[in-house]
């Protein structure tokens, strides 16, 4: 299971608007590469600001608390020098306890390879002293810029986000395969059908008899995944989780027993959901019905 802090980072990355993220330029000219790494962490700044804005929205929604991370803030490090990772997260102490270090996050463009290496070295150092239990390096760039063998890593257990891989789990934020170079969601490379991230699940039609349940599921899926229910089956009636089971058969048995004639929603809790291929007959009918609705409305 993905670490809850890493999951939050991924969610904030997923919410970022590529235009804002790329507003300060997303590549370094070759001549700039000669400058010292610390001096070259400039073009990442717009990305970091946009990331922080989205991350802040998540904690305004109490997501860190809901995921068991407690109340968190960004603040400086009193025990270290000026060269620091881009964002330092602390957990606020409760009931008289002292604040504690939670995570250090750095951002670097792949076109700034010296800065990438410097960040990784810095994170490795800061994990040991002053002691940040989670150190995350976010690399920005295009897939083509990834060196052979993937993103650079300092040690086996360091948290480096890269294509199809998140420290401690599969799937997640990746390098952008497009020309614009901001971080985007990329599904795990399964070689199977196309996938969709749970944050992109489409809204149900308002005419659907399970519109309430579907809207509730879209709101709650993040929390249920964070609680470790990935792969299990949830039964929702109205705006209530009736239960969660390990198999679909168990969830359907509960439906048969408790709601045999009611509209309910049974869903498998997945971070990445398959986008099914449906018959062209269905697509034709769907287009026809959408067209009729537009005509009726207009």
């Amino acid at each position: 299971m993905t670490d809850p802090f890493v999951a939050l980072v991924i969610e904030a990355l997923n919410l970022m608007h590529p235009r804002f993220a790329g507003s300060h330029g997303l590549s370094y000219a070759p001549e700039e590469a000669a400058e010292p790494p610390a001096a070259r962490k400039a073009r990442e700044r717009g990305f970091v600001l946009e990331f922080y804005a989205e991350f802040r929205r998540l904690w305004d929604r109490a997501e860190p608390v809901r995921r068991g991370l407690g109340h968190i803030v960004t603040q400086g490090e009193p025990l270290a020098g000026s060269r620091a990772p881009d964002l330092l997260f602390w957990k606020l102490g409760e009931h008289g306890a002292a604040d504690s270090r939670l995570a250090a996050v750095s951002f670097a463009l792949l076109s700034n390879p010296s800065a990438v290496s410097a960040d990784l070295a810095l994170l490795a150092k800061w994990r040991d002293a002053p002691g940040y239990p989670r150190c995350v390096s976010v690399l920005l760039g295009k897939l083509a810029e990834l060196p052979d063998g993937g993103a650079p890593r300092r040690r086996r257990d360091e948290c480096v986000l890269r294509r199809g891989e998140v420290a401690g789990g599969a799937g997640g934020t990746a390098m952008n395969p497009t020309e614009h170079g901001a971080a985007v969601r990329t599904p795990p490379l399964t070689g199977e059908r196309p996938m969709i991230h749970y944050t992109e699940l489409p809204a149900c039609s308002p005419d659907s008899p399970i519109a309430t349940e579907s809207a509730f599921y879209r709101r709650e899926v993040s929390r249920l995944l964070a609680e470790g229910h990935e792969g299990r089956w949830v039964l929702i009636k109205g705006e209530q989780v009736i239960g969660i089971w390990n198999t679909r058969a168990e969830a359907f048995a509960a439906v048969d027993e408790r709601y045999p004639d009611d509209h309910v929603l049974v869903r498998q809790l997945l971070e990445w959901e398959p986008l099914l291929h449906l018959s062209t007959w269905w697509h034709r009918a769907h287009a026809h019905s959408a067209d009729s609705q537009r005509r009726a409305a207009g």
């Binding site: 969709i196 399970i210 359907f252 009611d262 959901e273 018959s279 062209t280 007959w281």
Partner: protein, 144 residues
């Protein structure tokens, strides 16, 4: 292994079907002494381009089906949510009713409006069978 061999028609690969409530619901009604609805009979088209089987809106209304789950597909404007119902589906040959049918007791199906058939059999069912297409002879065989 039971087989159905049928002609390939200009409309496609068509089979006879019966659709009813899912088997657990039928059993529960039987136990409770509640009348069981009559199966809806009709034609189904085999569609290897669909991951999910479907039934027509008329069948959904006739059986009074409830939505149990949903999935999503890629529509023209992006991902689209699709409600699914649970039914029992029987594939048989109306001209040879003595042959053993293919029975799927609890199948998730999508609703399809404006279609000229009662059901569509997708890969979710076909992957449990062997489908042999004899193009030159214009027949297909379903083994299950």
């Amino acid at each position: 292994m039971p087989t159905l061999t049928l002609p390939i028609l200009s409309a496609g690969l068509l089979v006879d079907v019966r659709v009813n409530l899912r088997a657990p619901a039928l059993s529960a009604r039987q136990t409770a002494g509640v009348p069981i609805p009559a199966s809806v009979t009709g034609r189904a088209i085999l569609d290897t381009g669909s991951d999910v089987s479907g039934i027509s809106s008329a069948v959904v209304q006739q059986l009074g089906l409830v939505s149990t789950t949903s999935t999503q597909t890629q529509g023209v404007g992006g991902p689209v949510s699709v409600d699914l119902h649970r039914v029992s589906l029987t594939v048989w040959n109306a001209t040879q009713p003595h042959l053993p049918p293919l029975v799927v007791p609890d199948l998730l199906v999508m609703e399809m409006a404006h279609v000229p058939f009662e059901a569509l059999i997708g890969m979710d069912v076909l992957l449990e069978c062997r489908l042999l297409l004899d193009g030159p002879v214009r027949t297909f065989t379903l083994e299950y």
